[in-house]
């Protein structure tokens, strides 16, 4: 398992609001969270990315105090949270399916946290108005929860989580149940909102697009451990291993032997650029680095399938005696299924993973 390319951060660093050290949670002997170290600085938006079962929801629950740790510690503002119950931690958590209180109206939901913290009636009313304005639902306070659409519920849940001014806001699959266009619009809104409010956010999602759009920093999790942390760009450009690469949606992953600036692979010799690690390695070829040329040049392939992706077409190529390849090309250049084409590779789009 790879270490974070950034190296271990100091757990005691004064600017980190949240700090996990060796946090471990076991269910029936299986580690759902396996010695996780993680720091979130104030005003930072961190997105935990991973497939289902990777332990990302457990991570949030452990921080919220809903799930006791079997080992390690969770600190907020440098203070160990062991023994501090959920309702005293001062963090906000937005649940995956919102979990709005069905017997209260929108205003009652949003006011709940401030009420628990002893706010006066008028303070509550003010705060509800303020937050509903903020999430774009002005005047919805008297509406019944059941009458809300999915997107509106999501906004109410967000307003409810924000209302008591938590020092850390945690989001569990915040946009999971919404349709794609709404999701894409909301993610932008959220990032803007958090930036404006200076909220510290720890979000989990299985959707890389959401994570990259939202986060200052992305944490990829696998089997209860952190596989990689970095800025969205860092993670996107240099996935740390085959798992991360494949999780990010890259399928052109192949074993090869790197000698000098070239690697010997089933797809032939690939250029790898200067200073690449030598020896037997795993290589990632981004679809953009697969160039289609005339059938008599380069690696000879047959077009097996093509999928329209909006901005480009993903072309699935079947070489003779080698694994399939995916190429990205402009719509007008895309060959038909069954065409024979040649393939050449771009060194800049090829990453030596380990």
């Amino acid at each position: 398992m790879a270490k974070s390319p950034h190296g271990p951060q100091s757990p005691q660093s004064p600017q980190s609001l949240l700090s996990l050290e060796g946090a471990t949670v076991r269910f029936d002997g299986r580690a759902a969270l396996d010695a996780v170290d993680l720091d979130v600085a104030e005003h930072e938006i961190v997105c935990v990315l991973g497939p289902s079962g990777s332990g990302k929801s457990t991570l949030l629950r452990a921080v919220a105090g809903l799930q006791p740790l079997d080992a390690g510690r969770v600190s907020l503002d440098g203070r160990d949270q062991a023994g501090v119950p959920a309702h005293k931690r001062g963090v906000g958590l937005m649940f995956q399916d919102h979990q709005l209180f069905p017997q209260r109206d929108v205003g009652g939901n949003v006011a709940f946290g401030t009420r628990m913290h002893g706010a006066s009636k008028s303070e509550q009313v003010d705060r509800v108005r303020e937050l509903l304005d903020l999430v774009g639902l002005p005047g919805a306070a008297r509406r019944a929860v059941a009458s809300l659409s999915g997107g509106e519920q999501q906004r109410v849940a967000l307003a409810r989580a924000l209302a008591p001014r938590p020092r850390l806001l945690m989001l569990d699959e915040p946009l999971g149940q919404l349709d794609r266009s709404l999701r894409e619009r909301l993610v932008v809104e959220l990032r803007e909102l958090f930036g404006r409010l200076g909220t510290t956010v720890l979000a989990v999602t299985h959707d890389q697009g959401e994570a990259f759009a939202l986060a200052d920093r992305v944490v990829v999790m696998r089997d209860g451990r952190i596989a990689q942390t970095g800025t969205p760009l860092q993670v996107w450009q240099r996935p740390v291993d085959e798992f991360v690469a494949r999780f990010l949606g890259f399928d052109n992953v192949v074993r090869g032997t790197v000698v000098g600036e070239a690697a010997d692979t089933p797809w032939g010799k690939l250029p790898v650029g200067e200073g690449a690690a030598q020896g037997t390695r795993t290589l990632l070829v981004r679809p953009a680095g697969v160039r289609l040329v005339a059938a008599d040049a380069g690696l000879r392939c047959t077009v097996a399938a093509r999928t329209f992706k909006g901005t480009h077409v993903a072309v699935h190529l079947q070489p003779e005696d080698a694994p399939r390849l995916e190429a990205a090309c402009a719509l007008r250049d895309a060959p038909e299924v069954g065409d024979a084409v040649g393939v050449e590779f771009d060194a800049t789009e090829i990453v030596v993973l380990d």
Partner: protein, 365 residues
């Protein structure tokens, strides 16, 4: 302490506080049970659920003696005795009233009572006296367990009502009698003892075989027998009951007159005077009575003419004190039998359980 633990303590505390709090909010004037200590002004009477006394009579006693009387009714006669025995080490009250001659031995053998000769004991009619050497119990009332008959049925069928035990096994009375289970019902047991007194230790079984052959019906309790099966009672009439003979009390016919509106000029039922078994009810000072002095005063009171005069119309029993008044309805509709069957409590004690057992296998199986 963590917040969870605090919540725990609060929850437990709430639970413990809740019960006394609830106890405090009721309407009852209850105080702590048998907490009447020596010199206490409360005297507690434990009895069965037929206990009754006129308010004014009880009030007069309270005023004159200075004691408050508290009454606990502990189920029917048998249950009340059994419960008194169970609790004798720490009794619920000071005086127990309601053990009769059929169960007297159970109470005495279990040392339920302590000795006290109540004032006025010398005025008790001699035939009711018992335990005269130790004075652990005081006779209070008496009554007869007798077969009652439905007058209407017999006049309709132009039949003479039965008058004796012997009559009951005659063919003209086939399928007419209903009685109670001797193992669970006080009149049922009394009737069994009456036959045993009449026919002797050996003869009664033979008599019951004939009674069974003559179609006697046995039900579990007096309520079912009288209200559901006996055609002469108010309940029986509504239930279209078809048994015109029932084992009940000599005081039942007067009750049918007194508890009717408008009152009939004659009782709808009568008593077969040759089928009676004499029952005597006793009271006694409980062995570990907290307020023995008060208990003694209460026992004395129960033998006064005032109480003895008041008793018949409240409990439908007869007084045991000489010269006590018997209400005219009693004299008219349900006088005590001239020659009832009687049995010495000691003999009852020796044979009761065996007889009931034999009776059960003979009659119920």
């Amino acid at each position: 302490m963590s917040i969870t633990k605090k919540a725990t303590v609060v929850a437990v505390g709430f639970g413990l506080v809740a019960l006394p709090a609830l106890a405090a909010c009721g309407s009852s004037d209850s105080d702590g049970g048998s907490g009447s200590g020596a010199g206490s002004k409360t005297v507690t009477l434990v009895s069965h659920d037929s206990w009754a006394v006129s308010k004014s009579v009880l009030a007069a006693f309270e005023k004159q003696s200075g004691y408050q009387v508290k009454v606990l009714e502990d189920g029917d006669a048998g249950q009340a005795v059994n419960k008194a025995i169970l609790t004798k080490d720490n009794p619920q009250g000071d005086v127990f009233f309601g053990v009769d001659n059929t169960l007297l031995s159970r109470a005495l053998d279990n040392e339920l009572f302590q000795s006290y000769e109540a004032k006025g004991s010398d005025l008790i009619l001699p035939e009711y006296r018992a335990d005269e050497d130790k004075h652990r119990v005081t006779p209070i009332d008496t009554g007869d367990i007798c077969v009652n008959y439905d007058k209407a049925y017999f006049s309709e069928h132009k039949l003479t009502p039965p008058a004796s035990f012997d009559d009951l096994i005659k063919p003209q009375y086939k399928n007419l009698l209903v009685t109670e289970n001797a193992s669970t019902s006080s009149p049922g047991l009394g009737f069994l003892l009456g036959t045993a007194a009449k026919y002797g230790d050996d003869g009664w079984q033979d008599y019951w075989k004939k009674l069974k052959a003559n179609g006697v019906k046995v039900v579990d309790g007096w309520e079912q027998a009288y209200n559901e099966e006996f055609s002469g009672s108010a309940g029986g009439k509504k239930a279209k009951a078809d048994r015109p003979l029932v084992v009940s009390y000599a005081s039942s016919p007067p009750a049918e007159v007194i508890y009717a509106d408008p009152k009939p000029t004659t009782a709808p039922t009568g008593v077969a005077t040759g089928t009676c078994f004499r029952q005597v009810e006793y009271a006694g000072l409980l062995s570990n009575a907290a307020n023995a002095e008060g208990g003694k005063a209460l026992l004395d009171f129960m033998l006064t003419k005032t109480f003895q005069d008041d008793m018949p119309l409240n409990m439908f029993v007869y007084p045991v004190r000489e010269a006590a008044q018997v209400p005219p309805e009693f004299m008219k509709y349900g006088p005590l039998a001239k020659n009832p069957e009687i049995m010495d409590p000691a003999k009852i004690a020796d044979n009761r359980d065996d007889w009931v057992k034999s009776w059960t296998s003979l009659v119920l199986k």
